[in-house]
Symmetry: C2
Subunit: 246 residues, 2 copies
């Protein structure tokens, strides 16, 4: 069987998250239905990981197995013609039969966007989180550096996850400012449930002066969820890219 790796962009606003669930519009189900229409086969689409309702992806990766002989460059067009416009297959490639989008994932990059304008944005309201109080970006830049490295991120996960270990490695953590937008970019070997949204909430508390940048190591070491910031809403979050060993 062929193993097809898809790169997928989606607007999370229109869906109840990635994962298939009955009677709720979801990205996995929408694409699986399209693949079935196109190939005549029922497939299971395996993503690098789920995303929650409202979370966006610029480069989610997912794979499926098929006996279809369709030319690889036709696959994105064929699937795109069968899904809502809030999903676009950006690339399809044939990969080794053992390739698994979740197990083989080496790195993920997420971005959380805070709209720090006084009155909010109309056009970008569904892809950012509005914080009208001016944040101290310099303090946030100091604080975010403490997240880099291998840590137990227990204080930065929501309950309800099955993952055994809460140790993760963040390779790169940075704040990018563009106009009124503050982008929080995190690249790591994996992320716990709500981890990026909780780190973003903690950094907002730093920007507001509620938490000192230097207190971040203590909060990480304390492993106490109540000492970190709140979970920011989903619409500010975007899965930018997923990387695999070449």
């Amino acid at each position: 069987m062929r193993n097809i790796k898809l790169t997928i962009e989606y607007d999370g606003k229109d869906f109840n998250g990635w994962q298939k669930q009955p009677n709720k519009l979801n990205i996995q189900g929408e694409i699986e239905r399209a693949i079935e229409n196109v190939t005549g086969e029922k497939v299971e689409l395996i993503a690098s990981g789920r995303t929650d309702a409202g979370v966006h992806a610029l480069g989610q990766v997912a794979n499926f197995k098929t006996n279809s002989k369709m030319a690889i460059e036709k696959i994105p067009i064929a699937i795109n013609s069968q899904v809502k416009k809030s999903i676009r297959i950006k690339n399809a490639e044939e990969v080794d039969e053992n390739f698994h989008s979740r197990f083989n994932c080496k790195r993920k990059t997420y971005r959380y966007v805070i709209d720090n304008s006084k009155y909010g944005t109309a056009i970008y309201r569904n892809i950012s989180y509005h914080m009208p109080i001016k944040l101290n970006v310099e303090e946030m830049k100091k604080a975010i550096k403490y997240f880099e490295g291998k840590h137990d991120f227990k204080a930065f996960k929501s309950s309800g996850t099955s993952s055994k270990s809460s140790v993760r490695t963040i390779y790169s953590a940075q704040i990018l400012v563009e106009g009124d937008n503050i982008g929080i970019d995190l690249t790591g070997n994996g992320f716990l449930y709500n981890m990026v949204r909780i780190i973003a909430g903690t950094l907002v508390d730093v920007g507001l002066g509620k938490i000192k940048a230097e207190d971040i190591p203590k909060i990480i070491e304390g492993k106490d969820r109540t000492k970190a910031g709140k979970t920011l809403p989903p619409q500010g979050l975007m899965l930018i890219r997923v990387d695999y060993e070449k």
Copy 2:
């Protein structure tokens, strides 16, 4: 009476354009209704110009007269609380009683965004126009320069406008590339009906090799609408800013 100048951002997707019309959701009517709720007065909101259904604005300017004594910094918050989230008042300032958003306008800047990716974008689909065929950007950059200066733009206007003269001055015309996006930025003393969308359509024809860059002056001089490109759809267009004499 006080004369209040508003700077307004809106997501054009949700509206039948700026102009007030019965039984159709429009931006002018929505804001006038909000101002009436806030001040108790019926007002007329005068914009720098209309925008069509689907066209966005990052910095539309409009003014209205009022006897309200509300503090100027409270006005954006008060209006924003009464309008849809697809409209945001970004600024309010008190101006001279003779200030008129349309008559006093000196310069407008529009941007038209072409998404030149192969399969299109999901997240930004309502703020760009998808052209899957790779455009020759270098030729487009040559072509756009011919639009700068004072010209009779009769070939670049749709019928149905009341403006007597079709002579306009374009101060700056440039192509900006960011990833798969091609932005067409035009600053001028005014624009005819659909002028930016027709210029953008003509530049797409240049990018496709259907029109040569060097033929643009001939098309301008010919004043024949049928020789220019087609009118591109509204969702790619955004009114970026409106300038006035200081």
